[in-house]
């Protein structure tokens, strides 16, 4: 279901890590798309391949990892077959990324000003003064007061929340078509998290920007996103509109995830946890990788399971979906 107004459409993306212990199929056939002004959430347990998916889109997977198959369509251009210089022009300028850990993403030896100005100068010819003015204005926009002075500071003088705002400001500098935010708020406390979510939502509406928001926290995604993709062991196991998906999860794994979110369990329903351990990525079972932990699985689940489509944009990969109404 590719849409015409898609900013980004990923088809059959596979990124594997060729480690000494074996091949880690971190991303194994992911397809997703996001439209202008839309916010797409990617959910999934730790290790399900969310970050690797994000890095693959910008060709940032480092050895021993490699993107081995797939298409990343961005404005009619396949990013995966771009040469290094063409993709560099897109990175930061048209697709910006915010990393998982705000404490580690800024260079500790360089001032905030230097790290912001260099991102402007990588894509545009301007004077330093003009660039600095733009940096200060962008910092103000993400809620850093007294920005002109704080630009002179170094990362270690900023709290985690402030650093993440700086990262968001850097992402906004070029008003990109798409921002990929990889769990940018997990390291922050809840109030700041809420604040940043609110601001991001506003900025998207304001600028018509598309946003991919990665998180293992379904509650956060539910509040923020238009659509959600749920990943398990390198695959998207269910995708759909955010409210729908949280209201009526079809895949047993999604159901487990929804059940384990405190805010989401409906009255009378107990807070449940998904039984079993996260999968060993070096040795995934055939067919549905969730099979060993799934209460509904049977022998037939060892087959390769294709994507099934339900009305209203819902897609899932399961032979025993929760399709019965109610409940």
């Amino acid at each position: 279901m590719m849409q015409d107004q898609s900013v980004l459409a990923v088809e059959g993306l596979r990124s594997h890590f060729f480690t000494r212990a074996g091949v880690v199929k971190a991303v194994d056939g992911v397809s997703l798309h996001v439209a202008r002004g839309e916010i797409l959430g990617i959910a999934g347990e730790s290790g399900s391949g969310k970050s690797v998916t994000a890095f693959s889109i910008l060709k940032l997977v480092d050895p021993p990892g490699r993107v081995i198959a797939g298409r990343v369509d961005f404005g009619g251009q396949d990013l995966l077959s771009c040469d290094e210089e063409s993709i560099r022009r897109i990175r930061g300028k048209r697709i910006a990324m915010i990393f998982q850990d705000p404490m580690m993403t800024l260079n500790p030896l360089m001032s905030i000003a230097d790290q912001m100005v260099e991102s402007i100068k990588a894509h545009e010819r301007t004077t330093r003064a003009a660039a600095l003015a733009r940096c200060a204005a962008t910092l103000e926009k993400v809620g850093i007061p007294d920005a002109a002075r704080r630009l002179l500071a170094y990362p270690h003088q900023f709290s985690g929340g402030m650093r993440q705002r700086v990262a968001i400001a850097i992402a906004l500098l070029h008003k990109p078509d798409l921002i990929i935010a990889d769990e940018p708020t997990t390291a922050l406390d809840v109030t700041i998290q809420g604040q940043i979510l609110h601001e991001m939502r506003q900025l998207c509406d304001e600028l018509g920007m598309a946003l991919i928001w990665i998180s293992h926290d379904l509650a956060v995604l539910g509040n923020l996103c238009d659509r959600i993709n749920v990943m398990y062991a390198g695959r998207v196991v269910e995708a759909g509109r955010a409210e729908d998906l949280l209201e009526r999860p079809v895949h047993p794994y999604t159901r487990g995830l929804v059940g384990s979110v405190p805010g989401n369990s409906r009255r009378g329903q107990e807070l449940t946890q998904i039984p079993g351990m996260p999968p060993n990525m070096l040795d995934l079972p055939d067919g549905c990788a969730f099979r060993p932990r799934c209460p509904r699985s049977g022998d037939e689940c060892a087959m390769e399971i294709g994507v099934r489509v339900l009305g209203d944009g819902r897609e899932y990969r399961c032979l025993h979906p929760h399709l019965e109404s109610g409940k």
């Binding site: 940032l60 480092d62 300028k93 260079n107 500790p108 991102s119």
Partner: protein
């Protein structure tokens, strides 16, 4: 910052004082200079007079206090052998030693850093393996051996370069140096090469491991995600982080280049302080040895201070911490 420097200076004075005591005790235990300096056929009376004039008749602690009070006035004694102030003897030869040390240091950085960066970036490639194998050779070959080998090949065998001595001197920016003349440079090549081989290997390995450690860091990937050009990532983001260990080791090694160029200076008959030290030790020229050691200690202290100051130049965390204290 000023407080920091002041505190370091006070520490230094304490260190110098303690070292002077150790040096004095050490030099006394080597042997009695009277046995060497005074000819065997001298009469007992001549002997006593000589010992008295050298101040060797006084007990050790008294000699030490005389030395200390003179040292406070900037006088580190007179050489027994040359009968000249030790300080002027050493400072006269210092430029030759410094020239050798700084040229070797320069060479080790200019060659070692690029090699290390290539090896680090192309880790486990054929190029990397070649560079690393070469650096093991540079590490394990003893200086005296490479020095002699270089002389055999380039001076004796090929007649390309002079085997020993310091060539013609000239002036650059008011500094007297061999680098000003072609003859001087030709004389420099072999000693500098043999002195720097080990340091080149060291800097290469250090740079390589620094790069290997820095490359997987998040901020490097983030710099790529921002769309920065590769040159900026390599030379600004990665290089700055690699610079810290390099500065540390270079500081330590510069001290050792100056202090322990002895072997190289001896083999190439380089008229520096190292050779002066060896000569002084064989003649038991006590004031000379003491003065040399004291000056070397001070040199180390100054170098360490410079290294510490350059840390705060590179790393804002250290800079700001010092500003506070």
């Amino acid at each position: 910052m000023l407080v920091f420097i002041l505190r370091r200076l006070i520490q230094s004075v304490v260190v110098i004082f303690l070292v002077s005591i150790l040096v004095f005790i050490g030099v006394f235990s080597i042997g009695n200079p009277a046995d060497i300096l005074i000819p065997a056929e001298a009469s007992q009376m001549e002997r006593d007079a000589a010992i008295k004039s050298l101040g060797l008749d006084k007990p050790m602690y008294e000699q030490y206090f005389i030395f200390l009070s003179n040292a406070m006035k900037g006088d580190l004694g007179r050489s027994f052998v040359f009968n000249q102030p030790t300080i002027s003897l050493i400072t006269a030869r210092m430029p030759a030693t410094l020239e050798l040390a700084f040229c070797a240091l320069f060479l080790s950085l200019v060659i070692g850093i690029p090699l290390g960066m290539i090896a680090g970036y192309k880790a486990n490639s054929l190029l990397d393996r070649t560079i690393m194998t070469g650096s093991i050779l540079g590490f394990s070959a003893p200086t005296f051996w490479t020095a002699i080998l270089l002389i055999m090949v380039f001076a004796v065998g090929l007649h390309w370069l002079p085997p020993s001595g310091r060539g013609q001197l000239g002036k650059i920016l008011g500094i007297t140096t061999s680098l000003a003349t072609w003859d001087g440079i030709r004389h420099l090549v072999l000693p500098v090469t043999s002195l720097s081989l080990f340091k080149i290997s060291l800097v290469t390995r250090l740079t390589r491991s620094g790069i290997r450690e820095t490359l997987p860091m998040d901020f490097v990937k983030y710099a790529r995600a921002k769309g920065l050009r590769k040159s900026r990532i390599v030379f600004v983001h990665v290089f700055r982080n690699v610079l810290i260990p390099i500065v540390t080791v270079v500081g330590m090694e510069l001290g050792s280049l100056i202090a322990f160029g002895v072997v190289t200076e001896t083999i190439y008959a380089w008229p520096g302080t190292g050779k002066l030290l060896i000569d002084s030790i064989t003649r038991l020229d006590r004031p000379m040895i003491v003065a040399w050691l004291m000056i070397t200690v001070m040199l180390f202290i100054v170098i360490n201070l410079v290294v510490d100051l350059s840390y705060s130049l590179i790393d804002p965390r250290i800079r700001l911490q010092r500003k506070k204290s």
